[in-house]
């Protein structure tokens, strides 16, 4: 599977899981659907960014750092807009970025070179 598609799928899946955990917080349970959609999009963006990065740079450590940074920035923006739950949003969001950064580098297929 190519790196961008792989990043997209893993980012979306982990983002959705991340969003679903909002169910455990009764104060935001009413907005669960919106949180899941938002979190999925956040994971999806991180995954695509990590996938594009993996196509340009072939290095697992750099891929992990890039994914971590993208995940952190996106999660920070979400937490900043809510002014609450900083740790509960930023920590998992960053780790989702780290995981897609690793997965796109390790398992994504490089594009075929033109002959």
């Amino acid at each position: 599977m190519n790196k961008i598609l792989l990043g997209l799928l893993i980012g979306a899946a982990l983002g959705a899981v991340d969003g679903c955990t909002a169910w455990f917080y009764p104060e935001v349970r009413a907005q669960l659907a919106g949180i899941i959609v938002g979190s999925t999009i956040k994971g999806l963006i991180a995954g695509v960014a990590a996938g594009i990065f993996a196509r340009k740079v072939n290095s697992i450590p750099l891929g992990i750092m890039f994914g971590l940074a993208v995940g952190f920035v996106l999660a920070f923006l979400v937490a900043y807009m809510q002014h609450d739950h900083y740790i509960a949003i930023i920590l998992p969001g960053s780790i989702v970025g780290l995981i897609v950064g690793y997965a796109t580098q390790k398992y994504g297929a490089a594009p075929a070179t033109a002959r």
Partner: protein
């Protein structure tokens, strides 16, 4: 004391080492009239002796193989010449290149080849602990043997002692003295014939005296296919070498394991070895490329053709391939649960 008795007394006290030294000195090839200067002996086989020599024109070290002085006879001289010619037609990075063939002043045939500084495979793998690294070495051996097969040459004596690994990890298949030229390969090369040079006869051809004919068993027990061990020369084809490669693979997976390391055997690799070493040649891989492809698939974490997997085998293979990623996801989910617990309290 007479001179004769003194000499007899001295002879009685010659050590075995001294006798060996004297003998090797007597057997040392006379390189006068050639471009080579003898450096020393590096190896000895049933047919010939390999010396290190210096090419004085190109100023490089070469390996010089010459018939053993005690076995200096026409048939063996032809065998050595034949070996050199087999090597000459096999230009491949995994096969040691031959430089020159000639005759020494004493009439012995010799040929020179690249001097390989490295270790024999059986010594080299003592320092290779990882199974994938051992399998990658095996794939490079397969590559060289597959190339030889495309040129119509069977090695017939593949074993760890006949593979060298150089200082930069280069893998070279050595000792093509028992190689068999397939008749098809000779027929396919009519344009390369030169009337002044005797052509390479195919083995099994009654008219040649160079080959290793029907009923003569040549090879190494344990690495020889059943048809080779029974001397059925006309039955030999690529599958005889595939048998030897299977035995070589088994050796690489079982020998010189680091102390306390778990067994390297798993069902897929066992199945590959079993298929390559099947008693009936019809059950073996039909080409070296197929054997190599199965080993490559194993290295890539894919299913191999030699083994039909159960669902548990598939799950185990999936886990082996994505082990780190699975643990990463598990750690993430655990972290998520712990975070919920901590925030709630």
């Amino acid at each position: 004391m007479s001179v004769a008795s003194v000499a007899q007394h001295s002879m009685r006290h010659l050590s075995d080492k001294a006798i060996t030294r004297l003998r090797s000195g007597a057997e040392a090839p006379d390189l006068n009239g050639t471009r080579y200067r003898l450096i020393g002996e590096v190896g000895r086989g049933g047919m010939g002796v390999v010396y290190a020599a210096e090419d004085e024109i190109l100023q490089r070290r070469v390996a010089l193989k010459v018939l053993n002085a005690s076995r200096f006879e026409g048939g063996l001289a032809n065998r050595l010449l034949r070996e050199a010619r087999v090597l000459a037609r096999l230009e491949h990075p995994g096969i040691v290149p031959v430089h020159e063939v000639g005759t020494l002043a004493d009439g012995r045939v010799f040929y020179t080849m690249k001097f390989v500084e490295g270790k024999r495979l059986d010594q080299y793998i003592e320092s290779v602990d990882s199974t994938p690294d051992r399998l990658r070495i095996f794939l490079r051996i397969c590559d060289a043997v597959a190339f030889a097969h495309t040129r119509g040459v069977l090695h017939r004596d593949l074993k760890p002692a006949n593979v060298m690994v150089g200082p930069f990890g280069e893998v070279l298949v050595m000792d093509w003295g028992l190689a068999k030229i397939l008749a098809d390969a000779i027929r396919d090369e009519p344009d390369r014939r030169d009337d002044s040079i005797p052509s390479l006869p195919a083995d099994g051809d009654d008219s040649n005296s160079w080959g290793t004919g029907h009923g003569r068993v040549m090879g190494t027990p344990g690495y020889m296919s059943p048809e080779q061990a029974s001397g059925e020369i006309e039955l030999l084809d690529a599958r005889a070498d595939i048998f030897s490669l299977g035995a070589l693979l088994r050796y690489l997976l079982t020998e010189h394991l680091p102390a306390g390391s778990p067994s390297r055997r798993d069902r897929s690799l066992d199945a590959i070895c079993a298929k390559a070493c099947a008693t009936g040649r019809e059950q073996r891989y039909s080409a070296v490329q197929d054997l190599a492809a199965d080993v490559s698939r194993y290295l890539d974490g894919l299913a191999v053709s030699a083994h039909s997997e159960s669902i548990f085998d598939k799950l185990a293979r999936f886990y082996r391939k994505y082990r780190f990623f699975i643990w990463l996801i598990a750690a993430y989910l655990l972290m998520r649960v712990l975070l919920i617990v901590v925030v709630k309290h």
